[in-house]
């Protein structure tokens, strides 16, 4: 099993969700996040005082999948979330040892 963590532009969430449903992903967890990579922030003014906001609103998706789904899903996310500009986000993959369904103690890939 693999966990996909994708950090994307807030405005791309709808498109990514649609793309994921299309390739058969049935569940996901979404977080509102703040952060930055190479993308610079922006400045805001409050009564003439300048504030630099470098932690930009992002959305983070977490999805745990059976390994054979992973490439397809990564493809779907990158295609849907890409604008080609700095700030499009990143995807991280990591191994998952076990999955347990709380309702009935079921274990393994069938939980996903």
């Amino acid at each position: 099993m693999t966990k996909i963590e994708a950090i994307i532009q807030v405005s791309k969430l709808e498109a990514v969700k649609d793309a994921l449903h299309e390739v058969g992903v049935e569940g996901m967890t979404v977080f509102e996040a703040r952060g930055h990579g190479r993308q610079k922030g922006h400045t805001e003014f409050y009564r003439g005082r300048e504030y630099t906001v470098d932690l930009i609103p992002k959305v983070k998706l977490e999805i745990v999948l059976a390994d054979e789904m992973v490439e397809k899903v990564v493809q779907a996310i990158t295609t849907a979330a890409r604008t080609g500009k700095i700030g499009d986000g990143k995807i991280f993959l990591s191994r998952i040892d076990e999955a347990i369904r709380i309702r009935n103690d079921e274990r393994g890939e069938s939980v996903l």
Binding site: Q9, S11, E14, R34, H42, T43, E44, F45, Y46, L55
Partner: protein, 462 residues
């Protein structure tokens, strides 16, 4: 000799009488003046209060109502549009637009007699309101001129440049609002019912002038600008119905100034308009909620407050002409009608009237203006009189079917002027400034891209 004495005595007596009479006349004149002053003070107190109430409808009423309905990245820009109009329209009113609306002119637009508010002082103008300073009348009317364009902002919410919005609204105030206000309420206006217009259209507080013009212009804006990116596929629910809720309640209260203030005095006509306003709003709340409950299984909070606003819109032209029972009928009709406009018609034609400025104000205003011609009662307000001063029938239910035609003429002119004026202005602003923000800015939200601020500044919890 005796005779002479008698005559001189008589002369003396009559001299005393004349002095007494003169003193009495002076006394009566003084009392009359005191009564007039008292009435003037009473009327003026109510009209100043009403003016403040109508301003409160825009800020914070409409500001909160619209602010809550947009996504949170656009809350400030949406609030700012209405608030900016509170300032911009005010300056414009002082410079020229009051004069274009209310100075003597031709049947369509006022002249330049009152530019820079020349001649607008403490003296009343009996044609408009005999008991309040003309300056009070001017400032009361100003509050209407502010909220009308502010209503339109609901149609292009979340996608129009701030610069384009201000340019559009300045032109709109001059090209659409001023002539419409002059035609319906101004001296010599073509549709003026109380000052001898060619087609006397009954519009007590602005069903055509305020709601039809703004609502129809809103539709034109929505069609011209096109939908927001992602509409209608992506859901764009209100970010805070709580804000909208407070805004709608403030609108309801402010509307008493709008409608009862339009009596331009503090007498029984103001009471009648006040009562009709309240009953209309209540009935429309029930009408919308019942329709929604029946169609969707639940009466929503947003539905209830939208219903109230729809009722207030529809009763606006009728308040001051109709009985409380008629107000309830108008309110019920408006609640159900606007519910259908917003839920069915909008999705049928797929235009993105983001905050339903047309569905509520255009549709509700048109319905209300029409129903005013049906329900207007000469017992409530004897507006039409024959040459001998006898009261004539007002509305259709009293046998004056012709009034429906007059209402239709008023509605048609408001629609026509709004459509033509808005299209021309949009075109002009589009080729000079450009109407829409770039796609990137729309995605980012107008608060940041247009104003460099956020409504809800994020900081990590301490």
């Amino acid at each position: 000799m005796v005779c002479l004495f008698a005559i001189s005595g008589l002369a003396q007596t009559s001299g005393a009488n004349a002095a007494e009479n003169a003193a009495q006349s002076a006394q009566i004149a003084k009392l009359e003046q005191a009564v007039a002053d008292a009435k003037s003070s009473g009327d003026n107190a109510w009209m100043l209060t009403s003016s403040a109430l109508v301003l409160m409808m825009t800020g914070p009423g409409l500001v909160l109502f619209y602010g809550g309905l947009v996504r949170k990245k656009n809350v400030l820009s949406t609030m700012m549009q209405s608030f900016a109009l509170m300032a911009i329209v005010t300056l414009l009113w002082a410079l020229i637009s009051y004069s274009l609306a209310f100075a003597p002119g031709n049947s369509y637009i006022g002249g330049l007699h009152n530019v820079f508010l020349r001649g607008v002082g403490a003296q009343p103008d009996p044609d408009y309101a005999a008991t309040i300073p003309l300056q009070t009348f001017m400032v009361f009317q100003l509050m209407f001129a502010i909220i009308t364009p502010a209503l339109i902002t609901g149609a292009f919410a979340e996608r129009m440049k701030f610069s384009a919005m201000t340019a559009f609204m300045v032109l709109w105030s001059l090209v659409v609002y001023a002539p419409m206000a002059h035609m319906v309420w101004g001296k010599g206006g073509w549709l003026n019912a109380s000052l001898g217009g060619r087609f006397p259209c009954l519009d007590f507080a602005g069903g055509t002038v305020v709601h039809v013009t703004s609502g129809v212009s809103a539709l034109v804006c929505a069609l011209y600008l096109g939908p927001r990116i992602g509409y209608p596929k992506q859901s764009m629910p209100p970010h805070s119905v709580v804000l909208s809720f407070i805004g709608a309640c403030l609108l309801w209260v402010g509307w008493f100034g709008f409608n009862a203030g339009s009596a331009l005095s503090a007498g029984s006509l103001a009471t009648s308009a006040f009562v009709a306003t309240h009953f209309g709003a209540a009935a429309a709340t029930v009408g919308w909620s019942a329709a929604e409950w029946w169609k969707r299984g639940k009466p929503s909070a947003l539905g209830a407050i939208s219903g109230a606003v729809a009722g207030l819109v529809a009763i606006t032209p009728a308040a001051g002409f109709v009985s409380p029972m008629s107000a309830i009928a108008i309110g019920l009709a408006a609640g159900v009608f606007c519910f259908l406009m917003v839920t069915k018609v909008k999705s049928m034609f797929r235009y993105d009237d983001s905050l339903d400025a047309f569905g509520v104000h255009g549709a509700g205003g048109t319905l209300g203006a029409l129903l005013t011609g049906v329900f207007a009662s000469s017992a409530v307000n004897p507006i039409f009189k024959d040459a001998q001063g006898r009261t004539l029938a007002s509305g259709w239910l009293e046998g004056n079917a012709h009034q429906l035609l007059n209402q239709l003429v008023g509605i048609a002119i408001a629609w026509g002027l709004a459509i033509v004026g808005t299209v021309v202005i949009l075109k002009l602003v589009d080729i000079t400034i450009g109407l829409r923000v770039p796609e990137e800015h729309e995605m980012q939200g107008l608060d940041l891209s247009q104003h460099g601020e956020e409504g809800y500044y994020w900081e990590p919890a301490a």
